[in-house]
Symmetry: C2
Subunit: 361 residues, 2 copies
């Protein structure tokens, strides 16, 4: 590519330590963190077999704090390193990925997280955009939190971390209504609590191979429960599951819809059409394709507007934007994946960039 490409990165994980959230959390909840040692429960039985655990070893700041906790390092290793002009924060702590229950605490924790995110990331770095973290187990409160946080102009998305539930159920519709009302994308991301078909399997390599299934399962749930008929302007993006499953998902869902749609009469459009109109896919972890192979895959998807660049910084399987697309891949399509598709998807993401040099607040 002749000029440096414009990049929008749709999956960057900023990270707090729980203590960082205390100033934003009502004091009634403090003692559970400071005295009783509450931490998010881990449901994943694997000892992550890479040198940095879940993270790139070199993304740890070296002061004992976790990867993703340092804005300076994130600027250096991601924004400046690759010239990324806009990056969407996707968080790591989600009540929705935890067990249901203790709703009041977890909902308050998500509010604290959002305020921490604004003050420590969005207000300090103009290239960053935010995701509203919610407790989807409490949909009405989640909708109120969306209304509250949507006032911040650089919030572009509502995050739904996948726990054990498909999100198509009417229970979650207040969340979709709130997102649609504010022009926010629904970001759907797996978590340690998301189990693929037949449960968690014996090895991390199995689980990690199969997590694209939880993305497929959420797509199917949203489609067949009519979420996108009820909220036609809503867009959802499936993050961190890649996108090579999309043709299979389209073919299979279309076939089943043709044969079984009398069961779900509210599904008026063919699932593949719903996918093309309402769903998007973050690119990471992109598999090894030749240019011709990737073009074939996009052709099978019936659209070159569905895939948006994501790096998954600072996780161990980070995709470098410079190496994510195969050699020889056409510039025009690369531009779509690198930035144009995300700009068309995220209604609140400005197409116009601030003046060069004004990026840092």
């Amino acid at each position: 590519m002749s000029a440096a490409p414009r990049y929008v990165d749709t999956d960057v994980h900023e990270r707090a330590e729980l203590e960082d959230l205390l100033p934003y959390l009502p004091s009634v909840w403090h003692k559970y963190i400071t005295e009783y040692g509450w931490t998010p429960e881990r449901m994943n039985p694997y000892a992550q077999p890479t040198a940095g655990g879940l993270d790139r070893a070199d993304a740890k700041p070296g002061d004992g704090r976790p990867a993703g906790s340092s804005l300076e390092l994130l600027r250096e290793q991601l924004l400046d390193e690759f010239g990324i002009q806009q990056a969407i924060l996707t968080g790591w702590l989600s009540a929705t990925a935890l067990q249901e229950g203790w709703t009041e605490f977890k909902t308050a924790l998500m509010s604290a997280y959002n305020d921490w995110q604004v003050e420590n990331w969005l207000q300090r770095e103009e290239r960053l955009y935010g995701s509203i973290q919610i407790n989807a187990w409490d949909p009405e409160a989640a909708a109120r939190e969306i209304d509250r946080m949507a006032e911040h102009p650089r919030m572009v998305q509502v995050m739904l971390y996948i726990g054990g539930e498909p999100f198509g159920s009417p229970r979650y519709h207040p969340i979709f209504a709130a997102a649609e009302r504010h022009g926010l994308v629904i970001g759907i991301h797996h978590s340690e609590s998301s189990a693929p078909a037949l449960g968690r399997h014996r090895y991390y390599a199995e689980w990690h191979t199969l997590i694209s299934q939880v993305c497929m399962a959420q797509a199917v749930s949203l489609i067949f429960n009519g979420v996108f008929e009820k909220f036609p302007d809503l867009k959802a993006i499936l993050i961190e599951g890649g996108f090579s499953y999309v043709p299979h998902l389209m073919w299979r869902a279309d076939q089943q819809w043709r044969e079984l749609r009398h069961e779900v009469p509210w599904c008026k459009r063919q699932p593949s059409r719903v996918i093309r109109e309402n769903l998007r896919f973050a690119s990471q972890p992109i598999e090894e394709f030749t240019s011709a192979g990737l073009l074939t895959l996009l052709d099978q998807m019936g659209s070159d507007e569905l895939v948006c660049l994501s790096t998954d910084y600072p996780h161990w399987d980070f995709d470098s934007p410079e190496q994510s697309l195969p050699i020889g891949f056409p510039d025009e399509l690369a531009r779509k994946i690198f930035s144009e598709n995300a700009l068309a998807t995220y209604a609140r993401l400005p197409a116009e960039l601030p003046l060069a040099g004004g990026a840092r607040a």
Copy 2:
């Protein structure tokens, strides 16, 4: 195609009523069926939304017995109708798809089923080949049952119906050892007890769209647990999940194996190579493809030897062999899917057919 094609159908469901099995079952177990009303537990919450329930409405014999219970009707609607020369029975009753426990009864029931199958189907119709039904919850007994039934020359397969467990675990290896010892294919088939990612979902259409995930999950389990390194001559066929997921599975599994194989050092071969060497896929339910689209898919799979015709008679989503492949699909490749791939997969399936007219015993 100029001459009538040779068909091998790799998925035909014969069906017993429980009372049919009593003559083959030790009398100690009779009362649970005749007096206490045991039936296989149903774990699937859906009222199957087609006119015939799980079955083609026209495949019910009309005497109150279930579809698949009449050899005469199966001959008329399947073998004679389409000129199918060889068909592999896949059953419907599997202890492995039921809850674990009460092992002795369920293992005995599988033995009774196998003897019933031989006497009522294989001995009455030479075009039919059998699958050994086992209780995989009791692997040592299952291996003994395989040894016992393998003496029947028209048993070509061991069926593993999918319940809630991935089969890669060493627990199940005695079954694979026995199958390999006798040149029997492992047939893996979903059941009402197989849940995709995020559980059973709200609608049958969702569950049925996602059941290809349990096939993928079993493939991943077998591969990453090294089953095909330990049993290199073993072949397994994934039945009733279609095959359009295979390219995605290959790409994703190869990527994860490259990055994480230090966790599973017994996996010496790239997963896509293992799939091409050891796994096969029954065609039904085949999605709607153009000829070019299907050729692309086979090209992505890197082999035209992996897909074997299956009709799934007598179930509601039966695929007619005559309509399963798209118009204009090359004859040479159609022959592979219709018969040659199955003949190369099932070591015990004779390539030479009995003399014409001698088909019925």
